[in-house]
Symmetry: C2
Subunit: 258 residues, 2 copies
């Protein structure tokens, strides 16, 4: 089977034009076929603040009400997505920006039945991903750039975590490709000491992850990322790595292992 | 040749959820292949105002500086485009939202050499439109929903008038299709008296248009729209009409004639 690269790029990179350009000029050097999934980081919160849209929190969890969803759609599916597409096109890379609603590639279900009403948040499943059009696009040497916006297939847009999208897409496409999933962010990988880049864990096994979680060595933000990453590895994704955005082409980072 | 419908929908409709839903439920009844081009109307200005981004004017012409461009991209290519796509998908219509940067479908040139520096405004030409991918998508029964954002092919997004995009796309595609271009807005068509819907001009010939322009019967906002409309008709587009959004399927409106 052909190798497909699925690369997730985090908010801290996409919100910084210089870092984004540097990352994209590396990304285009990866062999095709490839897919870029991007988050938006703090830029949606920043815009909410400027617009005096209060950020609703219940029990420490953020709620996506309608104004917050509109801002997420504007920032993720609009500004960030189109900037990425224009930059890639500027480097002769035939990018196509997509939300999960476009071509119905990522149908989602509005999260319900939870204790907290999270608002317009979409849960997704690998079985529902519309791989037909994604594969057609990849066959045409198109580079999909996917934002973390999905829809309920009944007309409503939803917000879905970008790490989850990258993982679920990778699982869905592992029928047709040997998928290599890479999460890029601003650290060298998973670290024993989050303030010391030298403490990189080169290979992280699932048992060790569970152990480090219990010992609270792996901190809050990394846990859901690693949960989605291990889920991908558990469901036939060939290779899952966590890397610094600058090291996409280099053999430096954390490789996950079951 | 097969008939292709290109429908431009104006800002006053897309900014009103009820009107938009009504229009879209009519639009989906049009035979495929079809393309929707949308503007954004006052919604970008409204967001600029909320964000305290001053609207720059020189000699009565609006200037698109960087903050204004970012807002246009967020609103047109983001919020409005993705809402339209989700609504169409909700009615089992396989829509794909596109800016001109996506798949490089609409390369533009930043307007230069004019007395006024208009900022990030893109001029486009039918010869440069990338009809290959548009045709491929139409062949796959995809409905492109196109926002009025283009790019310079060097990494920079640009803002282009939506009427111009609808006209230029129609011209570019008239090699392969019998194109029917319809501009939908909130009036019955071109009116002799803009306050009296009964004064509809059913057929507008080019000479009569020039005459009504001189007599100032056709007012400012309509002139660039009709200029682009006549240009399409002049360049092999089969049929060009100006209609009320509610009358898309009805034989009520202004038909242009050379």
């Amino acid at each position: 089977m052909e190798t497909l690269h699925v690369v997730k790029i985090g908010g801290n990179i996409v919100n910084d034009e210089k870092k984004l350009d540097k990352f994209l000029s590396t990304f285009i050097q990866l062999n095709s076929p490839k897919i870029l999934v991007h988050g938006g980081g703090s830029s949606a919160s920043d815009l909410c603040q400027k617009l005096d849209i209060p950020i609703q929190m219940i029990n420490g969890r953020r709620i996506t009400d309608e104004p917050a969803l509109d801002v997420a759609v504007m920032v993720y599916a609009g500004l960030i997505n189109k900037k990425i597409v224009a930059r890639l096109q500027g480097q002769s890379c035939n990018a196509l920006g997509l939300s999960g609603a476009d071509l119905n590639i990522i149908p989602a279900e509005k999260r319900t039945g939870t204790e907290i009403d999270y608002g317009f948040v979409g849960d997704i499943h690998a079985d529902s991903i519309n791989t037909h059009f994604i594969t057609r696009l990849l066959d045409e040497q198109v580079i999909p750039a996917i934002s973390a916006i999905t829809h309920d297939t009944k007309g409503q847009l939803l917000n879905t975590n970008a790490d989850t999208i990258a993982s679920t897409l990778s699982v869905a496409l592992s029928d047709k490709y040997e998928v290599e999933l890479t999460y890029c962010f601003e650290k060298n990988g998973v670290l024993h000491d989050e303030d010391d880049e030298k403490t990189l864990i080169k290979t992280l096994e699932y048992d060790a992850f569970e152990n480090l979680k219990q010992k609270k060595v792996i901190h809050e933000g990394m846990i859901p990322k690693l949960d989605t990453a291990f889920e991908a590895l558990n469901k036939y994704v060939q290779r899952v790595q966590i890397k610094h955005a600058n090291n996409l082409l280099k053999d430096i980072g954390t490789k996950l292992s079951l």
